[in-house]
């Protein structure tokens, strides 16, 4: 648990946090729409579609981790799958896209389902 004393000893940069969160959020929104297109083309329905979204989001987070976080994070001595160099919470990094991109996913999912099956 980080206390106020810890922040005094090792301060953090708010601009860097905002920049990283914005980068991640843009990436997740864009990819969520693409997943929706895929789910619509495949003709997925109900729970299978949401399962597809869950799996795709985790895969997208893995891509982002290996390309952007892992090279410098592991070089600086952090353990694998530790995102604390760039993000404050690990949960925010791995599952933040689920809530942020859900609306875009459902939008394109229903649109392309209707386009293909009509």
């Amino acid at each position: 648990m980080t206390t106020e004393k810890d922040f005094q000893i090792s301060p953090i940069v708010p601009e860097a946090i905002a920049h990283n969160s914005k980068t991640l959020f843009n990436y997740q929104s864009l990819t969520a729409s693409i997943f929706g297109v895929g789910a619509g083309i495949l003709g997925l329905e109900s729970y299978i579609g949401f399962l597809f979204y869950l799996i795709c989001s985790i895969v997208a987070a893995l891509f982002f981790y290996t390309l952007r976080v892992a090279p410098s994070s592991i070089a600086s001595g952090k353990a694998p799958f530790d995102t604390s160099r760039y993000f404050r919470g690990a949960l925010e990094f791995w599952t933040g896209g689920l809530t942020g991109g859900l609306a875009g996913f459902i939008l394109t999912w229903t649109l392309f389902y209707g386009l293909v099956r009509a």
Binding site: A16, N20, Y27, I34, I41, F64, L67, R68, R85, V116
Partner: protein, 146 residues
């Protein structure tokens, strides 16, 4: 770096468009066949069953686009102050270029600038002494010249 990401994303989008068009054609064909040949004993296959190659192409194109987007994101910045400041000290502007190779707009420069120029470290007495010596020597030199 940026042209790799754009090429990968574009390839994925072309594949996705092709898969989408194929799926539309397939479902259209299915519905036309099922309406022309009426056979109550052999019910038409549901349009939900896509051929395997279209499904695989869709999945592959989604992965390609995601990979392209991940390549195109701008580099992240360390959130710990000491790591961030150390990165600026070591690499300067290069660490804060975005995907297009331009220095990002909120790059603030040397984080220790305020410390290095703070007026508390200006030794005013020493400067006064140096000025007095300069005045004296300058006058002596002028007298020598005359």
């Amino acid at each position: 770096m940026t042209w790799i990401s754009k090429t990968v994303t574009f390839t994925g989008l072309v594949l996705l468009a092709h898969a989408c068009y194929s799926a539309v054609e397939h479902t259209t064909l299915q519905t036309t066949l099922s309406t022309t040949t009426v056979s109550p004993t052999h019910p038409s296959t549901s349009p939900a069953s896509l051929p395997l190659d279209i499904s695989l192409e869709t999945l592959f194109s989604i992965l390609t686009i995601t990979f392209g987007f991940a390549l195109g994101t701008s580099p992240l910045r360390p959130i710990q102050w000491r790591v961030w400041a150390g990165l600026i000290e070591r690499e300067g502007e290069e660490a804060f270029t975005n995907a297009d190779g331009e220095v990002s707009r909120d790059y603030v420069g040397n984080p220790f600038k305020m410390l290095e120029t703070r007026p508390g470290f200006v030794d005013i007495r020493r400067q006064r002494k140096e000025f007095a010596e300069w005045v004296k020597h300058g006058r002596d030199k002028q007298l020598e010249l005359l």
